[in-house]
Amino acid sequence: MNQLEIPSPITDLGNQTGLVRFVDYDPSGRIIADGGMSEQDVPAAQQFRLQPFLLGDGKPETHYVEFVGDARAPVLRVRPAFTEGFDKTEVALREAATLADLPAATVSFEGPMKGTHRHPGGDLVVGWTLPGTYTVRIEAFPYLPAEFTLTVGDAT
């Protein structure tokens, strides 16, 4: 019987010699797996594999897939790093610290208090009612996660 063979990619083997690197991605462009497959399996994989994938060498921590143009063609990109931080590292109680022009992000902080805030995009303007040192973590995909330290104290 003539059976159609859908190649099974080999994942998590690092840069194994002789394999073509690829990444699996989700509709948001996040890489959900990476691995390798033999070159002869590539055409069949491109035709029959249900999981969207892209040939290229990328890792979830450092890369993402951008959808370019009207055709939304997937392109493997390096995740950019934040170049800007908060406008100050020390603030008084209830005083605002601003991270300008931040894309939509999950903002989490840990210190004397911990919590999470979903930022819709735009300037992030935040303050605290309890003094102490806070580590603020920003997750704004496809940017690399960024951490900032803010010290909150009495009004000066």
Binding site: L93, F109, P112, M113, K114, V126, L130
Partner: protein
Amino acid sequence: MILFGPEFDELRERAKAAAMLHFVEQASQDGVPPTLRAMYVRKAEQAQLVLDGCSSSLIEGEAALRGITAIQMAQVVISMAAAGGDEIELKRMETNVAIETAATETEIVEALRTRGITMQIDLSQIGAASADSGA
């Protein structure tokens, strides 16, 4: 502006709750199992009854075993019960007074810190993050 954290009055109550937890934990570190602790509590209640002029088979029975009067036995039990608990309760009350007289958030935090008490507020659990759009 998004302002994270409780307002001053709520912070004060949270600080007192943190102090209570701290001292309850301290009181529990004497290695006495909960069942035995419950027996001690009952014994102290019975001893107080004896001192109030009532009878208690538990106190009278132990007094007979030890060859002392029920009143003497009751006094021993009450003084033993008070020895550990009173000291811890006094410390807790002293901490509460410091928290209540604190004029600023920093003073509240200091009142806890100097007594070795940590207060961790998890806003994701209580949903207490307040949003202040005015500032």
